[in-house]
């Protein structure tokens, strides 16, 4: 279905190509995983296949891509839209309409499918991706997993036989991810759709995939079998050490209501020095709400606290990486240097002149974490600190958090990554529907 021959891609202002003479082939009905370290070009590879790179990103492409025997290199996305479906990292931001059924039909409208046939296909595709009972539902009232499935349906509604997905499960909790992956498996088996997925959290996918393409970070690509991948995934995390702890921060009962719905039932937190506390739970379970409530409480009590919000790029407000780093703390130069060191440790050296908005999601997160950690506050709050990080960066982050704990900091993190929560933390508070799970 897809053949890439010596495919190269270089961003306009980059020193080295992101993809360097890559060769691979994907057959009909194959389920292929593209993996690699943060910023290694996984998203870029998918974008190059559908033409978003260079047409939406700038840069130069060379080599040859053949889709179903047709040479498509350098064509804009809308010229290959009838052959390839593409779902980006945040489907909610990519919806062009209001309701599920209109969204499913959107691509078909653009491709000029006849109205009667459209009706039929909307029904079929909705059944296939499991949203048949949600057709009239406004898109913003869907769960993350449902949104992802609608996006998949819309990408395939015109009968496309290739589906590209950029980190389809990284923002999803386990239940949502399971639903999405089941749909993908069904598509490869019953519809012979070739699926190419880029993803960090390979453990969820390991059993489903046929083949792995790994980008090594230097622009080269190596093929692996799923088994090899799992072996390379095993990495140790530091075991919690028990040191003399004292209570640093104690909250009264925190509670949050929006109108008549309760986002958070009364819950209190106690954070000690030398400790990492994790809030785990599914999307919408109240983790973030609790974190923000705790933050306001910490401000109220005049504690020094640093926080990395879920949307890490919100913290980045200046024009270059180096400006962000030197603004880390204006009066205190060592802080900037410390931030630079932490950043390099997490994701390697970044070009100091690049615009923070042009970094990959994982790199933005790493930068935000570096900026906030370097302030050396007593309390450190992190909301979903692993999103978009590859396993290596994740384990480095775990090490880093371990060191901070040993230095005496109290760390509170919210994550739906249960493994990360278990492996890093001294205490895991599991939340279900705004309540502590052990209280139910």
């Amino acid at each position: 279905m897809i053949q890439a021959k010596s495919l190269s891609f270089r961003y306009s202002d980059a020193a080295t190509p992101t993809l360097q003479r890559i060769n691979f082939e994907v057959l009909a009905g194959e389920f292929v995983l593209v993996t690699g370290p943060t910023g290694s070009g996984k998203s870029t590879l998918l974008k190059a296949l559908i033409g978003l790179a260079p047409h939406f990103t700038g840069g130069q492409i060379s080599g040859e891509v053949k889709i179903d025997g047709l040479a498509t290199t350098g064509l804009p996305p809308h010229e290959v839209a009838h052959l390839i479906g593409y779902v980006n990292q945040q489907p909610a931001g990519a919806f062009a309409t209001d309701t599920v059924e209109e969204e499913l039909a959107y691509g078909m409208e653009q491709l000029g499918v006849a109205p009667d046939e459209m009706r039929l296909r909307v029904q079929n595709i909705a059944t296939l991706v499991g949203v048949a009972d949600l057709l009239q539902r406004p898109l913003e009232r869907l769960s993350g997993g449902q949104q992802q499935r609608v996006a998949i349906g819309s990408a395939l509604a015109s009968g496309q036989k290739i589906l590209l997905l950029d980190e389809p499960t990284s923002a999803l909790d386990d239940q949502g991810a399971k639903e999405v992956l089941q749909v993908l498996k069904r598509l490869t088996v019953t519809e012979q759709v070739s699926v190419i997925v880029s993803e960090h959290r390979v453990e969820r996918l390991a059993e489903l995939i046929d083949r792995v393409l790994e980008l090594r970070g230097d622009g080269l690509l190596v093929e692996k079998s799923p088994r090899e991948l799992l072996i390379s995934q095993v990495h140790g995390m530091t075991a919690p050490k028990a040191i003399g702890r004292e209570c640093l921060f104690e909250t009264p009962e925190l509670e949050l209501k929006y109108g008549t719905t309760t986002a958070l039932h009364p819950i209190s937190l106690r954070l000690s020095t030398h400790s990492i506390t994790a809030l785990s739970g599914d999307n919408g379970s109240g983790k973030s709400s609790l974190l923000w409530c705790a933050l306001r409480e910490a401000w109220r009590q005049n504690k020094t606290v640093a926080m990395v919000p879920q949307n890490a790029s919100d913290l980045l407000i200046l024009n270059t990486v180096s400006a962000e780093l030197s603004a880390a703390h204006t009066e205190n130069q060592p802080t900037a240097r410390r931030a630079a060191t932490i950043l390099e440790r997490l994701v390697g050296r970044l070009d100091p002149t690049s615009h923070p908005r042009d970094l990959s999601v994982g790199q933005q997160l790493a930068l935000a974490i570096a900026l906030q950690i370097s302030r050396k506050t007593d309390l450190l709050f992190l909301d979903e600190p692993t999103r978009g990080l590859d396993p290596e960066a994740k384990s480095k982050l775990a090490d880093l958090l371990g060191e901070l704990r040993d230095d005496g900091h109290a760390i509170l993190l919210a994550t739906h990554d249960h493994d990360f929560a278990r492996q890093t933390s001294d205490e895991v508070i599991h939340l279900i529907d705004g309540r502590r799970a052990d209280e139910n």
Partner: protein, 317 residues
């Protein structure tokens, strides 16, 4: 046959036709009771047919605007009055203000009965037009309406739809970024407005680019380009239309040539229609119909047309 006339069950185009025909009737009529009846009817229809949607919540705004227009029109007529001795309804002291090089201006004085009723009638006509259009806007889903605009405007209306989709997200992201700016400094104070403009716009540019990418990846922009001939035709048609409309307006205001006036206006509208058709013909996209035209839509359109015709012929005044 299902004959419930709820806002979302009628095509938005039908609501607009009803609103426009009400407005036309109001424009023609010069009887205060009829104008009042049109207003009451418009408000009643909104109250009966509306559902809980953001665009249905502005009824009060329209009623207030309508009332204000009547009030302003009448007060205006009383304050900026020409002193007149006939049928005096209000006898106020006349004031004359010299206004430098612009001349003089008369205020108050003896206000005649007829000038007040005329002002009241004109005010009622304006407010009836406002309420008629307000009715259409309160009942028709704007997105669905934008969806049914002609193919020749597809690009422009798409950007309007993008704007409607992005507006609520913008408010959310502005709030988020303001909150996040508190996290970067020791004092935990949010940054000042101007500091935030750039990150908010950068954030929303990224969002709009992601949306554009997803639209393009699903085939948006896949229209055959217009040929030179088509573009040239559309431009000529536009220029002819504007000239015809200008001639039509001139004739309307200066002569009694009913047929020539009518012909000019018809030519003008036809030219724009032709331009719409020709520049819209090259898109190969189709439309997914969420609402199929039903008997009740036709019924509503029929009633609207009948009303407008009865007013135009002078059967109802």
């Amino acid at each position: 046959m299902n004959l419930t006339f709820k806002a979302s069950q009628i095509a938005p185009g039908a609501w607009w036709l009803l609103g426009l025909s009400f407005a036309i009737c109001a424009g023609i009529s010069s009887s205060a009771p009829t104008l009042l009846a049109i207003q009451i009817l418009a408000v009643l229809i909104v109250l009966l047919a509306r559902e809980d949607a953001p665009w249905s919540r502005s009824l009060l705004f329209y009623i207030c605007t309508a009332a204000l227009v009547v009030l302003i029109r009448v007060t205006f007529r009383i304050i900026f009055n020409f002193d007149s001795p006939d049928q005096v309804a209000l006898n106020l002291p006349a004031i004359r203000i010299a206004f430098g090089p612009l001349g003089e201006i008369d205020l108050l004085g003896r206000v005649s009965q007829s000038s007040i009723t005329a002002a009241l009638r004109d005010g009622l006509r304006m407010s009836a037009i406002i309420l008629s259009i307000g009715m259409a806007n309160s009942l028709a889903n704007p997105r669905r309406l934008l969806k049914s605009t002609p193919a020749a405007l597809y690009g422009v209306t798409s950007s309007f739809v993008i704007a409607l989709n992005l507006a609520p997200q913008l408010i959310a992201s502005a709030k988020r970024i303001r909150l996040s700016s508190q996290l970067r400094n020791e004092s935990n104070r949010p940054s000042k407005g101007v500091m935030l403009i750039s990150p908010i716009i950068e954030d929303s540019i990224d969002r709009s680019m992601a949306l554009a990418a997803s639209m393009d990846a699903r085939g948006f922009g896949r229209r055959g380009n217009l040929t030179k001939l088509q573009i040239r035709f559309s431009r000529v048609a536009s220029l002819v239309s504007i000239s015809a409309l200008a001639i039509g307006s001139y004739l309307l205001l200066t002569s009694d040539e009913v047929w020539a006036t009518f012909a000019s206006f018809t030519l003008g509208v036809a030219g724009i229609y032709a331009s719409l058709r020709v520049t819209g013909s090259s898109t190969l996209k189709t439309r997914y119909i969420t609402h199929s035209w039903q008997i009740k839509d036709s019924l509503l359109v029929g009633v609207s047309a009948l009303l407008a015709i009865l007013f135009a012929l002078g059967v109802i005044r």
